[in-house]
């Protein structure tokens, strides 16, 4: 049976294919390529997997596993305005409205057979409890064996890396057992090579954004790296990265004359709001304030050793800024503030995200110490049902006036 999401991915791919022929823009290409990954979920050539957000996606590419993380689907449903319907569905089924709506939207969609059924379910213990519980519950609900990666906290040690590598091997066995897909070391090397190539380009792109003005709009890199994770290890990923870089270079060449003015440089903390709001336009139009960097747009790892791919991926997962204690996350936020000459930070404090909300005051006070004010908004980034734009705009207004003064 064709599920609505399959039709959705098909239509996105078809529509963008045409548009890309007219004009190749970076955002178009990103959406197009990620929709093609989504389509792999229904393509017999690939095994299909729903996963957590912190995953070694390069392994999936090397094994022909079409994998998307559940929060991607949650965000997509919010972006297309369908989330509320599925959130209600999940709540009727007994899911608390206080949990993370990325997960609840996905669960509602799964209950509604909107998104079909994967062959594999792979979760991880980071970044949050909710993500893992979602994978485990889906497994129970649809009667599918799950695989869980237990990610130890930084700092990276030999012992922790070995521990994770062992689990990757277990995951590879699980994939083979349940989908028949085999691990091929040469393809794994190739996947790491593409991943390194893409991240090198992205590093350069981010570096350009440290310039004043940054050669992007507030939305150019919206959700960028978190979506791009799906393309890590693919040739297409390298192309997408390159087009983003080329666009930025083009803007710089024109002196950013075709971009909105930039007087205030903002850092966005953690996730963007996934449904349509006026906030970003409001900031731009009233204060010439631009988001020049998102916290999650940061390549925090070095080039990976293609001869030791699993080890390199283990190191990358352990050292993710949202994994473990908050200290190294704050160090990175401070570095971003300095590198990008940030005037202020916006943390949407997504309702239901305990790991972020639990430390928002600590982050705020640590950034204040380096002279960067941060505003904590109270908003659900996926569930638009209680969204109150007026209130948020008033708060942002006060914040921006404080920055300006």
């Amino acid at each position: 049976m064709t599920t609505p999401i399959e039709i959705y991915f098909d239509s996105v791919v078809d529509a963008l294919e045409k548009k890309l022929k007219d004009k190749k823009t970076a955002r178009r290409l990103l959406v197009y390529e990620t929709a093609r990954i989504g389509r792999k979920l229904f393509d017999k050539k690939y095994a299909s997997a729903w996963t957590g957000v912190f995953m070694p996606f390069e392994i999936f590419q090397a094994m022909d596993v079409g994998a998307v993380y559940v929060e991607y689907i949650g965000a997509m449903l919010a972006g297309t305005g369908q989330a509320p319907e599925f959130l209600r569905k999940a709540e009727r089924f007994g899911y608390s409205p206080d949990g993370c709506a990325y997960h609840r939207a996905l669960v509602g969609a799964a209950l509604d057979s909107f998104i079909g059924r994967p062959e594999l379910l792979i979760g991880a213990t980071a970044p949050c409890d909710g993500g893992l519980k979602t994978i485990l519950n889906l497994g129970e609900n649809i009667g599918l064996e799950t695989f869980v990666i237990d990610i130890p906290y930084p700092p990276v040690t030999r012992e922790k890396t070995d521990y994770l590598v062992k689990q990757f091997r277990g995951m590879i066995d699980y994939i083979t057992e349940f989908s028949g897909k085999k691990y091929d070391p040469d393809r794994m090397k190739e996947s790491i090579r593409y991943s390194n190539e893409a991240t090198r380009i992205i590093r350069e792109l981010y570096e350009l954004c440290t310039q004043k003005p940054a050669p992007i709009t507030s939305d150019t890199l919206k959700n960028f790296q978190i979506i791009f994770a799906l393309l890590l290890g693919t040739k297409e990923g390298v192309e997408v990265a390159q087009v983003f870089l080329d666009e930025a270079k083009q803007h710089l060449k024109n002196g950013c004359a075709d971009l909105p003015k930039e007087d205030i440089r903002l850092l966005w903390v953690q996730n963007r709001i996934q449904y349509k709001t006026k906030l970003i336009d409001y900031l731009q139009e009233n204060y010439n304030a631009k988001i020049v960097i998102d916290e999650l747009n940061y390549i925090y790892w070095d080039d990976m050793d293609e001869d030791r791919p699993l080890e390199a991926l283990a190191i990358r997962l352990i050292s993710h800024p949202l994994n473990g204690k908050v200290g190294h996350r704050i160090d990175i936020l401070k570095k971003l503030c300095e590198d990008y000459a940030i005037d202020g930070a916006v943390n949407p404090s997504h309702w239901g995200c305990r790991q972020n909300c639990g430390v928002r005051e600590i982050i705020k006070s640590d950034l204040a110490k380096i002279g960067v004010p941060m505003i904590n908004l109270d908003v659900d980034c996926v569930d638009s049902r209680n969204y109150s734009e007026g209130q948020l705009l008033t708060r942002l207004q006060g914040f921006m006036e404080m920055i300006e003064s």
Partner: protein, 372 residues
Amino acid sequence: MAGTQFTEKEMKKIKSYGRPAVGWFCTYTPLEIFEAAELTPVRISGAHGPTSLGDSLMHTNICPFIKSLVDEFESGTLDFLDALVLTNGCDAQRRLYEIVRSRKPGIPVFLLQVPKKDGDEHIERFAGEIDELKNWIETTFKKEIDDKKLLDAMDLYRYLRARLRGYDGARRRQPPKVKGSYVMEVMLQVLRMPAPLALKLLDEEESIIKYREFPVGPRLLLYGNMMDDPGFLRLVEKYGGHVMMDEVCPGRRFWNIPEPRPDKPFCRSLARAYLTKSPCSRMAASKTAVDVVKELVAHQDPDGVIVYTLKFCDTHLYDVPRLRTALDEMNVKALFLESDYSQGAGQAATRVQAFIEMLKETRGTIPRDNTN
């Protein structure tokens, strides 16, 4: 009676044990290490009152137990602790660690990373963590924990847990020798004293319960997370219910641990025992928390189940739909309560009363003796 808040009297009592006091609360904390270093384990908990600083220093949507602890720290009530051992039990606990570190830099605090799985490599990894905890305690308290001390401590806790199991079983006699609320009160004391003293307390309790008998109303299984409010159990009793078994953190989840094998390295034996114990809903182990409830229901045949979850507790709340389905399929009546820790037991009074009345009508009281 042990309150859940630290009164002056209680703090004095803890100090009178003459050992450094180390705060803890997650049941994956291997207290054997504390005992081997002659420390007093002090299960910390909140005040079952409104929180304020917890809400502003974290966020309203954080587990009320954790926010309540933040308030306790901020008010200085917990300053008497010499150290703190927290775990990565959940996101809220992980973030409590950060708050304590930033607000109470004077209290040494260790964050124990407990894997969520129970396979060999996870046991090995947890053994490494326990070993690190041991080293940290040795350095912090300038004590040496040798194998002999650790083995003795393991013995002691094995015995204490067996005794707690026996004491707990007394509420499943027919008629019950002890009420559920008493068991919780005793547990809360046991979790705040050195094991040798806890054994003495159990001796005293057992000598008393020999002569006691209580009438039995609907027999209930209480399932939950940080359920440490004997007031709630008293409420159940007031309406004629009897909590004949619990699966909560300061209860069965604490004492239901397989005996650690006396094999070296002992940290690995402890890791194996703790990771394979009755799992809470944080775990992604071979057995799930929902499986535990199903087993308990099948084995104990309660008249009803109360599922008591704290608000904003993702690990438990995400299990609620599955629990509902499982209990429905087993044809067991269940009351689901999502509680705000801060408001105490009274909040649920009407629903508890109605639930027990309904059980009385539909099933009546059936005498059974099941002490396991």
